[in-house]
Assembly symmetry: C2
Homo-oligomer: 116 residues x 2
DNA sequence: TATACTTATGAACAGTTGTTCATATGTATA
DNA sequence: TATACATATGAACAACTGTTCATAAGTATA
């Protein structure tokens, strides 16, 4: 935590800026941004919220959130790739569900920030 | 939590889908998506990580993450609007810092998901 | 005030993203 | 096998996003 700032010598151009070793791998940061990107779309957020209540078929999700089957299917693909949802075939239907409790936690954390 | 799926009558098209009352306000979901969108860019993620270590001037951030002053300034604007960073003028410089511990928590949660 | 330094901003452009439409794939049943 | 139902996918298009470039705005000092 560094909430107050010291006047000292920050404007010196010979500042060493050694905080750089705190920075995670470039690769990891890309993955992190990509994960957040997945949460950064209303349709996908709605899908995740719908699945928090119960597992659902694709068409049911579409009906619930008011989107086309195609749009939902495309977005489920993205959510699958990010390992946020999993699925299971049941006859003609494909049932989607949340991957794990991480999704709940992420969404809750985001909500907290917004609502505080 | 609903990790197993019952065969019963999910395929019935008269399913009531009452889970809909679980869904937060449309408006709130937009805000949530917008928040995640802010985390969904590598440059902004790098800026946040840089600021986790210590408060920094704009140009220092730019040097640390290898971006232009302009790009950083533009992105800081976005971060400000999302209330993820705050700033303080010190003479010619503007010192940026993280708004609160929420940022740490969000990033940590994301990292956990990726690395698990 | 003139100059140098630091940050912010607008316009333009390229790259990305999400939706729609059409259609393919997969499954169950008559 | 033919039909109907459910889901997935590719192409095209519009909208959005992040960077760059040029420059404006703010501040300190000679």
């Amino acid at each position: 935590m560094a909430s107050e700032y010291e006047i000292t010598d920050i404007s010196s151009d010979s500042e060493d800026l050694t905080g750089i070793d705190q920075m995670p791998d470039e690769e990891l940061l890309y993955e992190l941004a990509d994960l957040f990107k997945v949460f950064g779309d209303t349709t996908r957020i709605k899908i995740l919220y719908a699945l928090m209540d119960k597992d659902l078929r694709v068409q049911d999700i579409a009906d619930l959130i008011g989107a086309t089957q195609s749009a939902v299917s495309h977005q489920l693909r993205t959510l699958k790739q990010a390992r946020l949802v999993k699925f299971q075939r049941e006859g003609k239907n494909v049932i989607y569900s949340l991957s794990d409790d991480h999704v709940h936690t992420m969404l809750a954390q985001g909500m907290t920030h917004i609502c505080e």
